[in-house]
């Protein structure tokens, strides 16, 4: 398509708009993390700090948790990494069997079971908050990382199954069939022939589970009470409750906590886009 000059100018103006919208608040955030509390409490637009300082970063990385081990921020980051990675690995592992059954086997009740998976994906979390709290409290399972892992794993399972079955379906059947003829066991076919080809699908589903688990706040805030299990979202929310002075620490901790998901999203961009469009196809 030939483009006229005004069209080109319009495009670049649009691009400028996208960049301003996206980067404006981000730049303010980054600048603020390098500002002193005197600066932050001043009446300027906070576009440039009067004096650049690393105080906020020092504050975030110092301080002791109640058990005296790591600073709260580091402990919460560690908890988030462990929780999110475990939930991702577990939901992929459990979900892939169900996804494979949907993609390749014919059986009674398949359609109804597949729609029910979609249905489970829609259950609003807030309905489950109270019963899960009551059940976990009575079993003494509050304030533990495994409890959070269990919840995140299962909440993400329907999505994982849905996405992986779509991916498995898109693979050619011929190799599986010839492997079967050669006498490879069904599990062998899945592990040795299907999974190696499914890495893009596993990565795409995995990113979403990772990002959602890292982001989760409602359950984490109710199901954790000490730094044995508190995740980073809970830690950041609590920086604020101590009062106005902690704004610097809160946004600095927040920026640092955003780096893992942002870096992941940028490096694995094409998987995210395939994951998003998967949500718009029946598979």
């Amino acid at each position: 398509m030939e483009r006229t000059k005004p069209q080109k100018i319009l495009t670049y103006l649009g691009v400028l708009g996208v960049l301003l919208f996206t980067l404006g608040p981000l730049l303010l955030l980054v600048v603020a993390t390098f500002s002193s509390s005197a600066d932050l409490n001043g009446k300027s637009l906070h576009l440039v700090p009067e004096k650049w300082t690393l105080d906020n970063y020092r504050n975030v990385f110092s301080g002791q948790a109640s058990d005296g081990s790591l600073p709260p921020f580091m402990t919460a980051m560690k908890n988030s990494v462990i929780t999110a990675l475990s939930a991702t690995a577990l939901s992929l592992f459990v979900g892939m069997f169900a996804a494979y059954a949907y993609a390749r086997f014919r059986f009674r009740g398949k359609n109804a079971l597949l729609i029910s998976v979609l249905g489970f994906r829609m259950v609003p979390e807030v309905v489950l908050l109270i019963p899960l709290y009551v059940i976990f409290a009575r079993m003494g399972m509050i304030n533990s990382k495994p409890s959070l892992v269990l919840i995140y794993t299962v909440f993400n399972l329907p999505f994982v199954i849905w996405m992986l079955q779509g991916f498995f379906r898109s693979l050619p059947k011929s190799m599986e069939e010839s492997a079967q003829m050669d006498g490879v066991s069904p599990l062998g076919v899945l592990f040795r022939f299907v999974l190696p080809l499914s890495l893009p699908g596993l990565v795409a589903a995995g990113i979403f589970v990772l990002l959602l688990s890292w982001d989760e706040f409602m359950f984490a805030s109710i199901f954790t009470s000490t730094y044995d299990a508190k995740t980073i979202t809970v830690a950041i929310s609590e920086f604020s409750k101590r009062g106005l002075i902690d704004f610097g620490m809160q946004i600095t901790g927040g920026l640092l906590a955003s780096l893992p998901p942002i870096i992941l999203a940028l490096f694995l961009q094409k998987f995210i886009i395939s994951g998003l469009s998967e949500g718009s196809e029946k598979g």
Partner: protein, 294 residues
């Protein structure tokens, strides 16, 4: 293992997990909504103390002014935020669908707010709206839009809209990416035929592009609507439902009545009433998916 049983064996672990963490708790929540349970969960050990009240909790929800107000706020939040995310998201997708240098980079940058944790987004905007030092507050004053420093999160109307802006900043990229992916899979002929006719770009957009994008638009809208309807984190951080309940949405009301005031049964009934609305969106969503596949 027999051929007939194998698929069920593959499904079993997933369905056991879903039964334990979703299905059974759902049933349990229904049970809780029919009794009179407060934070004292020991009461559950003794069936004599269950105090079965039938639909009383549901009746209480539906006759509660707080519920209807929260529903109104939730609908306002959902309609305005999804509307803005769709409009801006469509513009962004159209821009990024053009050819220009550094397109990949710009697309990556656009993705950043979406990857931003919701809590951090809330913290960032709460700071920007700070009544004494926030950049937005100071800017509004310096531009002469407000007399003096206006406490944006201090009055219901401005607080709700300020939260919506924060939500839009984070979630627009999601809509833009879905639309962009759909645009890039559109047949080129559709555009070119329009060009021969000399159709103007705007007319071409409304008569050709928009109808072809309809399935992707519906998916983006329904998914965002369901999420927006459940909004919680950003409200919890930015206003805690305030000022004076002015930003109290359904999720927050449920959280507050159960986890803060300890009224588990009322909270459960409220959560079910809320799910009824989500169910409508869910049915629409599933129908679209199946229609897209045909």
């Amino acid at each position: 293992m027999s051929r007939k049983l194998r698929p069920y064996a593959y499904l079993l672990p997933s369905f056991l997990a879903i039964a334990a963490v979703i299905l059974v708790p759902l049933g349990y929540a229904l049970f809780i909504s029919f009794i009179n349970l407060t934070k004292n969960v020991r009461k559950l050990d003794n069936p004599d103390l269950w105090d079965y009240v039938g639909f009383a909790n549901f009746a209480k929800v539906l006759s509660d002014a707080a519920f209807w107000q929260a529903l109104g706020r939730t609908l306002y939040f959902t309609a305005v935020s999804v509307g803005l995310e769709f409009t801006i998201g469509m513009l962004f997708a159209l821009i990024l669908n053009e050819k220009f240098r550094g397109r990949g980079l710009v697309r990556g940058i656009m993705l950043i707010p979406w990857a931003f944790p919701t809590i951090v987004n809330a913290v960032l905007w709460k700071w920007l709206y700070d009544p004494d030092h926030g950049t937005v507050t100071v800017l509004l004053y310096k531009l002469g839009i407000t007399d003096g420093y206006f406490n944006i999160l201090g009055s219901s109307f401005s607080a709700m809209n300020a939260i919506i802006i924060a939500d839009v900043w984070k979630n627009t990229a999601f809509v833009a990416l879905i639309l962009l992916a759909a645009m890039q899979s559109l047949p080129k002929e559709a555009y070119e035929a329009g060009m021969m006719d000399g159709a103007s770009a705007i007319r071409r957009f409304f008569t050709i592009t928009l109808p072809l994008l309809a399935p992707a638009i519906l998916v983006a809208l329904v998914m965002r609507t369901m999420e927006a309807f459940k909004v919680f984190d950003i409200i919890y951080i930015m206003t805690g439902g305030g000022p004076a309940g002015g930003t109290q949405v359904l999720s927050f009301l449920t959280y507050q009545s159960s986890m803060m005031f300890g009224n588990f049964s009322y909270g459960s009934a409220l959560a079910f009433v809320m799910s009824f609305f989500i169910l409508i969106f869910a049915v629409v969503y599933i129908k679209i998916l199946y229609r897209n596949a045909e």
